[in-house]
């Protein structure tokens, strides 16, 4: 057995890009989730930024939220934790598109 463990580097902490890169996403050109920037500007709690497992909600320097739908697990966490009416309009992607799990 040639499985070796580097004791000083037990599991190199992987970057978020590498982490999300382990999942397959078949990206459709139409965004299935749309975030309303104006509503977010007035939000101080930012639940989505903490909770989205795919880390897709990024605060911008001007107090807004940058959202990209492409690497989304379609889990529903964001619309459940966001308590601002109308901030997130959430749908499933077109049939056949979006995340495709393999070893889950």
């Amino acid at each position: 057995m040639d499985f070796k463990i580097a004791r000083d580097d037990t599991w190199p902490e992987i970057s978020f890009e590498e982490r999300i890169g382990t999942a397959e996403f078949r990206i459709h050109e139409r965004a299935h989730i749309v975030v309303d920037g104006d509503t977010c500007r007035g939000c101080s709690t930012r639940e989505c930024v903490v909770a989205c497992p795919a880390n897709l909600f990024v605060p911008t320097s001007d107090g807004g939220i940058l959202f990209n739908y492409e690497n989304c697990f379609e889990c529903g966490t964001c619309y459940l934790v966001c308590n601002k009416e109308g901030a997130i309009s959430w749908n499933y992607p077109e049939g056949g598109y979006g995340v495709v799990f393999h070893r889950t």
């Binding site: 580097a6 037990t10 966490t77 459940l80 934790v81 056949g96 799990f101 393999h102 889950t104």
Partner: protein
């Protein structure tokens, strides 16, 4: 019949949907099973263990063909505090023989296999198709679904919504109203690659035997729990986190996983493993208190779409509850078609089947457990209390004499800031809740 595309349309080819379609097809009904993923199971993720005994009724000798990773012969519950752990560990080779108890499996494999059973029985599976809404007749009764395919309307006297935890169909029908974030947890996991022999050495199993570990504590102060399940050449490791607590604590899910992986009781098990796949999914946690109305005119709801996942805190059973409720929904739908009454009244047999089976019996029995296990005391105070009591019981502190259990419990309870009354109340609640 001819004015409809089918006798029934089942939305979602997860365990609930495939069993609903299978039951309908076995009853000789013409059923269309619609799935939005490119194949059944492609959208589905869970911790990792299926308890498939309910399949005895639908797929005899299912264990001969089901895509199982390992048969669980060892089940543990771990309580983690800062740097120490207390584990209750049970093992028996008998769970490694037919008819088995639990099995680790990947959902994209398992759900795909189950959908093929429905197809083999005569169901029509349509993949890569998202259902976007319900169709209704002039009287408001559900009689089909709209899909995102061009000319994609599908009509049938009965629709069974098996579309999972976010069930937009049950919400559209006005059945599912408990959408408060407090009723949900999010599960995130890493599928960690390790050589087969390393897994077997570290977890003390051989051949196709495996281990199931549920974990209380170790979630960085966010109420929830952790899990580790062995597959053939990977280990599934993840956490389940209560949504309002997650946002209140401002800790990102992948950081909480990293914290769990660093715990001295966990680290040696997964040392050197690489992340093969990262995934996430939401769980309906609140059981009985969040369940929707199960039927309306022309429509039934099953599985997670009906919040039927049994989340007894950290011990999750959802796939078996989905398979059973799907099967009962399919049977009740077939009976309603035969009797020519697909109104809510004609479909009420479904609720009765759920009541008479383990599905609602178990939910009733364990109704107080999710709240108790995810409560602040059980989450924040008890793990440290339990491990420090155990530590002092096991420690040999010569030349000091042994302190005696009662004194240890009293001192550690005080140190943990737990009131005696609360401890007794929670203990009683737990005894009653599991009893």
């Amino acid at each position: 019949m001819s004015r409809f595309d089918a006798d029934a349309i089942v939305v979602g080819a997860g365990p609930a949907g495939s069993c609903a379609a299978l039951a309908l097809a076995r009853a000789g009904k013409n059923v269309i099973l619609v799935e939005r993923g490119p194949f059944a199971g492609s959208k589905n993720m869970y911790g990792g263990v299926v308890y498939p005994r309910i399949l005895d009724e639908l797929v005899p000798n299912w264990w001969e063909t089901a895509p199982v990773q390992r048969w669980v012969v060892r089940r543990s519950t771990m309580i983690l505090a800062d740097d120490n752990a207390f584990t209750i560990d049970y093992r028996t080779p008998s769970w490694g023989r037919p008819p088995y108890n639990g099995a680790t499996a990947y959902r994209p494999d398992f759900d795909h296999w189950l959908s093929r059973q429905a197809v083999a029985a005569g169901a029509t599976l349509v993949t890569s198709t998202t259902v976007t809404g319900l169709l209704r007749d002039p009287a408001g009764r559900v009689n089909g679904v709209r899909t995102d395919r061009p000319d994609g309307d599908l009509s049938a006297p009965i629709v069974i919504a098996c579309d999972g935890v976010n069930s937009f169909l049950a919400k559209e029908a006005g059945l599912y109203t408990a959408t408060d974030a407090a009723n949900f947890t999010v599960g995130v996991k890493e599928t960690l690659a390790l050589p087969r022999s390393v897994i077997e050495e570290r977890f003390g199993v051989r051949d196709d035997h495996g281990v199931d570990i549920e974990i209380l504590g170790g979630t960085s102060g966010v109420n929830g729990g952790g899990f580790i399940y062995t597959n053939l050449e990977t280990v599934s490791l993840g956490v389940v986190l209560k949504l309002p607590k997650l946002t209140a604590q401002s800790k990102r899910p992948e950081e909480i996983i990293a914290g769990l992986k660093r715990h001295p009781a966990i680290a040696p098990l997964i040392e050197g493993a690489t992340v093969q796949e990262y995934s996430a999914h939401v769980i309906p946690e609140a059981g009985l208190s969040m369940m929707p109305t199960m039927v309306t005119d022309g429509m039934l709801v099953a599985g997670d779409a009906a919040a039927l996942c049994l989340a007894a805190g950290i011990w999750l059973e959802g796939v078996n509850f989905a398979m059973a409720s799907g099967m009962y929904a399919g049977r009740a739908a077939a009976a309603a078609i035969d009797q020519g009454d697909v109104s809510a009244k004609g479909l009420a047999g479904y609720t009765k089947l759920l009541e008479e089976s383990f599905v609602l019996a178990d939910h009733r029995k364990l109704k107080d457990i999710p709240g108790l296990v995810l409560s602040d005391r059980v989450q924040q105070k008890y793990p440290g209390f339990v491990t420090s009591v155990i530590e002092r019981v096991f420690r040999v502190d010569n030349p000091n004499p042994k302190p005696g259990l009662r004194r240890i419990v009293r001192e550690e309870r005080k140190r943990a800031g737990i009131k005696l009354g609360d401890l007794l109340r929670d203990g009683w609640k737990g005894m009653r809740g599991f009893g």
